[in-house]
Point group: D2
Chain length 339, copies 4
Amino acid sequence: MVVVMKPGTDRPDIDRLVERFQSMGLEVGITTGVGCTILGLVGDTTAVDMDKISIHPHVERVMRVQEPYKKANRKFHPADTVVEVGAAKIGGGSFSVIAGPCSVESEAQIIEVARDVKQAGAALLRGGAFKPRTSPYSFQGMGLEGLDLLTEARAATGLPIVSEIMAPRYVDVFEEKVDVVQVGARNMQNFDLLKEVGRMSKPVLLKRGLSNSYEEWIMSAEYIMAGGNENVILCERGIRTFETYTRNTLDVSAIPAVKQMSHLPVVVDPSHSAGMYWMVEPLAMAAIAAGADGLLIEVHNDPPHAKCDGQQSLTPENFGHLMAKVGTLVDIMNKTLVK
Amino acid sequence: MVVVMKPGTDRPDIDRLVERFQSMGLEVGITTGVGCTILGLVGDTTAVDMDKISIHPHVERVMRVQEPYKKANRKFHPADTVVEVGAAKIGGGSFSVIAGPCSVESEAQIIEVARDVKQAGAALLRGGAFKPRTSPYSFQGMGLEGLDLLTEARAATGLPIVSEIMAPRYVDVFEEKVDVVQVGARNMQNFDLLKEVGRMSKPVLLKRGLSNSYEEWIMSAEYIMAGGNENVILCERGIRTFETYTRNTLDVSAIPAVKQMSHLPVVVDPSHSAGMYWMVEPLAMAAIAAGADGLLIEVHNDPPHAKCDGQQSLTPENFGHLMAKVGTLVDIMNKTLVK
Amino acid sequence: MVVVMKPGTDRPDIDRLVERFQSMGLEVGITTGVGCTILGLVGDTTAVDMDKISIHPHVERVMRVQEPYKKANRKFHPADTVVEVGAAKIGGGSFSVIAGPCSVESEAQIIEVARDVKQAGAALLRGGAFKPRTSPYSFQGMGLEGLDLLTEARAATGLPIVSEIMAPRYVDVFEEKVDVVQVGARNMQNFDLLKEVGRMSKPVLLKRGLSNSYEEWIMSAEYIMAGGNENVILCERGIRTFETYTRNTLDVSAIPAVKQMSHLPVVVDPSHSAGMYWMVEPLAMAAIAAGADGLLIEVHNDPPHAKCDGQQSLTPENFGHLMAKVGTLVDIMNKTLVK
Amino acid sequence: MVVVMKPGTDRPDIDRLVERFQSMGLEVGITTGVGCTILGLVGDTTAVDMDKISIHPHVERVMRVQEPYKKANRKFHPADTVVEVGAAKIGGGSFSVIAGPCSVESEAQIIEVARDVKQAGAALLRGGAFKPRTSPYSFQGMGLEGLDLLTEARAATGLPIVSEIMAPRYVDVFEEKVDVVQVGARNMQNFDLLKEVGRMSKPVLLKRGLSNSYEEWIMSAEYIMAGGNENVILCERGIRTFETYTRNTLDVSAIPAVKQMSHLPVVVDPSHSAGMYWMVEPLAMAAIAAGADGLLIEVHNDPPHAKCDGQQSLTPENFGHLMAKVGTLVDIMNKTLVK
């Protein structure tokens, strides 16, 4: 941590602040020049509240030098985390595709899609039972019944299932029925929910919030890991920018950046990123080329009649075409596509 | 709703789509010219899913013409909603200031601050019992004990209390103890929580999310109102932009814009907007001048030792100075400052 | 400047870097702890290229501590700059309103508007002769003829004139005919143009770019001042954000922030900020309340037939109503409205 | 174009507006329902000023249906534009890499880098003679001397040269000496400069502005094309967002989106996108996978001593490694790498 003193601060005032830091167990170095004094603080600064120091009357500015996260920090855990779910593996050179409909609509629908995506090479099945919708008047998902239909689709195909949890009260039923628990973009900083899924034994797929920084995203993973659940998969799904042509702006830089900062695997959701089915392929390919460990893709047997997100869903046929290209590119990237 | 057909679509294809809309009870007007056909749809289009229409093979684009919200829509409820909490009134020409510390820290602290802000002219007391913190290692609030201390501060001063709810499981205790339930910016689209507070009898102060549009914000109010709770106060608290000098960017345009779109009252939180105590006054003044119905201001008896947000908290003394200016400006704006 | 070394860097490597900084005339302080070494650099660091240091193989991160601007820096020039143009004064407690049409359209139009705005209390007349338009097919302004009509309006009313320069080749004619030279938002980092207006004797009104930070904005002022022209007026006109209801998002925080960073006066353009005439009043009032030194307002005698920006222009009548309120608020803010 | 009337507008008022549109040669369709009337306008609406209509007293909203650009519009020119520069080809299945230093620093430097990048497979040489720098105190480029050194490097290697023009007065010398004229991000809406390069015979590489939409970017290309120069290459170089870890956020979605909207080729600059040399490879690969027609990459023989942008420059050795991967991926994408 670095503390910049206000110009003209007297030496005794500086010394008092230095003593305060030293009493917290920190090493303090002082650099003094004409009109500027800088304090360098080294040691365990995670307990130091930057905001408090910043309002000290003689302090001009405080800057953090070390990351505020530990368990998710690659500096302390250099090796890639590999999340294993049944036969599927995400991270450390293994690449898995998670596919399925935006929402579970019926037994026939989810089983048909599950069979189709498995056949095309998906390693996990996704399907929404509880849906976060902007309008209270839109379809809100089938709820618990949807979860049961997902378990039937798992039984029929062997694919592990991924579904979104929206409230702490469903932790037990998700623990029992689901293989990977998804936390949606709008709940990325629902800290109560993060604490709850931190106590679960199932891996968590944590979507990046619409306008959250890499650091905030990793801090939300840290919440889950601090609760004891270290199997966190980060999922980039597009951020909000000024551009309105696409629903969101896929931030491919997040992939190399977050992998530099953290050891956790990073997957990409090209369906929500652009919000248009014809952009799924170029964005999926870009994600793989930038180093992603997996993809999350919306596939629906009948997009024009999907209860949600039909405009961004692929048909099973188009998903099959995409998977052929995915396989070639994953290979070029020296990764293994898990089927 | 407006549907733009792809260039070159044949008349029979257009007719089939028109019949589909007519079967939904909509009036359809057709405008045809060289290379472009536009369908105008009038009637109750809230049940029409734009996304589904947009993937119809002959459709180029769909544009909504009417607002997707009803209960919060000023078109259907022209008169300003006035939220009354004890003697305090917000909206319709009444202006109230909500003040208090970021978090409740002790009985002595909250009672002292409550007395100070009441004396200076605040009409409601705010205080956090449950705190949404970016880091799992930061102080998370006193929890239920904090709520009890707030009720003591209310007993000591008569000020109604405002506190943030972070999870559905606390709905009953908030219903019992708190006068206004705050939903934080990070939970603005925590739809499960919105549904729960929609069933409460207490007014809800709904903060705007970090990067949520006016329409999304009003749609979240619509969730609460659709549940039966029509006493919603909207709170602008700064949005996330590229500028990093301030913690957030206060969007004063939100005040006239949202008041044009909706009949709900709008208050402003200048403390979180900039994140710096010395900016609270100019931003508070700007908010009043732009037409706000109230302010939410962080006041702490000892900012340098506050457990959170000390850098943006006013001392009681500075809050007193600010309130003198607030009173003058509220007067100029032809509103009544409720004390 | 602060340099954070990579964990595990050997002492000799650190020493070599320290010597390099010392050879540049800088004081260097070293703070060392477990796994982290921080160098504090003090002295004239304006010549140090952060980017170069950041790629040094042993350097993890470089952070600037001092501002990169000098002439515009309030630290070195604590007193407010007051820009005087004829009888008009902007800054240091003097508040002036600049009003007029988006573009000069005819002699009759500009003289009529000039008379109207003068009567209502404007201190300067604005009018565009050269118009920056997004489309090559839109009206591009009357050019030099427009400038001549502005000088006639000045002769008729005594109001100094403000007009936008779009290319270096017009520097001489603007020097001759115009009283304040405006640099538009889209040219805020047209460095060639900034250098040219830096050689002029006329004050410059520098609009903030659509997505430029406070620091970049002040650095563009520094370009002009480095050329010898220290009469720079900064103009906030709304920034680009994710919100699409308004054309731009007025950043009122810019007013107190930039006035803290710099001694230059700050005016606000509420017309371009929202892009809607009915928002001009609340935004103008917010700007004054936040501490602005002046306003730039579009007024047109016949907005529905204006050649550009009619939707955000006030009629002379509405401008008159606004000016009454402006006068009251400027007074409350302890400033003097110059007429 | 679609015009939504205010609720309650009388039929005669609607009819008067309809007649006004008809007198402009437009087809008008009227859809009327309870509380809402929509006018559909078809025909050549490029001359209709949306802003003017939007302030008509009975109009609630105006929405554009057709694109405001013609020459750059893929609807009217379905075939890909291929820009040829000597042996290099960009677009229509041909992929070229433009490489070289941020700025020309000396004869030895530019010739050495030119030889290195040619050897590694670059098809064009880039080098800055005039540099847009945020600070007036930073190195501003070698100017005309730099252009001469570039021509020497061309003579030595046969590589066509790409360099940035910053002011209209250099049009003649660029026409004479340079093969591709670059317009920088900060000048994307410097309309005077766009008009000037529109009169040149040399292809123009037009960078996207920091916060400009796809449509604005294409409209700037339209300015150049309207002047007669139809050889425009669009260059995505990262946009400004809330994320500060990277200098800019590469928007890969721009590639498929803009290629859908326009027939012009799109290249990507991964060096400026992130601003960090170690991110160049993943971003370059992502760009190719998303469908880019070329890359613009900063290569410097001695990055730690580069006069600008050293932190984002590759060494010739690393550029060689990158080019091997580029070749493989371009091949997979069924494009031809031009060397």
